[in-house]
Amino acid sequence: MSSVTDTQTRVERRSRRLVVLAVVLVSLVLAVGVSSFASAHPDGLEYVAAQLGFEDTAGDHATAGSPVADYEATGVEDARLSTGLAGLLGVAVTAAVAFALFWALRRRA
């Protein structure tokens, strides 16, 4: 009986890994590939701020000097590559922080 349960657990774990892998792949496609095709128009809040005339109250960003500020890798001429690289870095950093946090936080079996 226990071997049946073992097989079940193994199959479940494998398909769970597939789901995790699929989401990572989709995220990479979005952040690296699709992101440079995203609309460059101001977002809802920026647009409203411009419309009502309070956009100028925004200060310079403290991390504007970051090598990937505004989702552009500095020094990379090609715009699509630049955004794609920034997206790749963002996915990697978010994954590292989030996986570490949630793994540390989980209830131990």
């Binding site: 995220s27 979005l30 128009h41 009502l52 505004d70 978010t94 989030a98 996986f99 209830r107």
Partner: protein, 229 residues
Amino acid sequence: MHVPDGFLDLATSAGTAAVAVGGLALALRGGRRELDDRLAPLAGVTAVFVFAGQMINFPVGAGTSGHMIGGALAALLVGPWTATLCLSVVLIVQALLFSDGGITALGTNITLMALVSVWTAWGAYLVLSRLLPRRLSVVPWVAFVAGFVSVPAAAVAFTGLYALGGQAPIPLDSLLTVMLGWHAVIGLGEAVITALIVGSVLAVRPDLVRAAQPYLERQRLEIREGSPA
């Protein structure tokens, strides 16, 4: 929706920072209850997906764009406490690395997106799941509504914060009107994305969708010992 530095005065920013810290402290305790070996990696990829999804601005007409927030999606997939943490991780990475959302505004952005949008969505889910029939097929529709309300809710909350500490003398009623107007449209995009993704995961592994749990609980098979009556 990412608020830059300077829109709100320092007192209001300090207030939202305190709210964010309090919310995060609660979420760290609540997240511990939601996460186990099975769900921790899923929570990790949920944060990754929210980061990637937020990079994709879609046009909403007249020179404006919007992107998903992902608060509703994360809440329905991994539970509200873990979703609060997912969104916070994303917002911190965006502010520190990509200058997306101000540093002094980080508390404001966590309050608006990791708290208001996540918990409005979760509230909508709780209400709707009680009102609607107990069928798994309603969950994507619940996700649609939860996704929709989560965006204008954050827009209203921003207007409220602006009333407290906005740095420019703007008529608040017109601020509320245009914020609500645009974010209702963006909310429709959020609704579609949330419903599609929750629906997709539901089709493959319904047991991995937190919002589907009450629909999956069935009576367990029991093996009783003893002689038959």
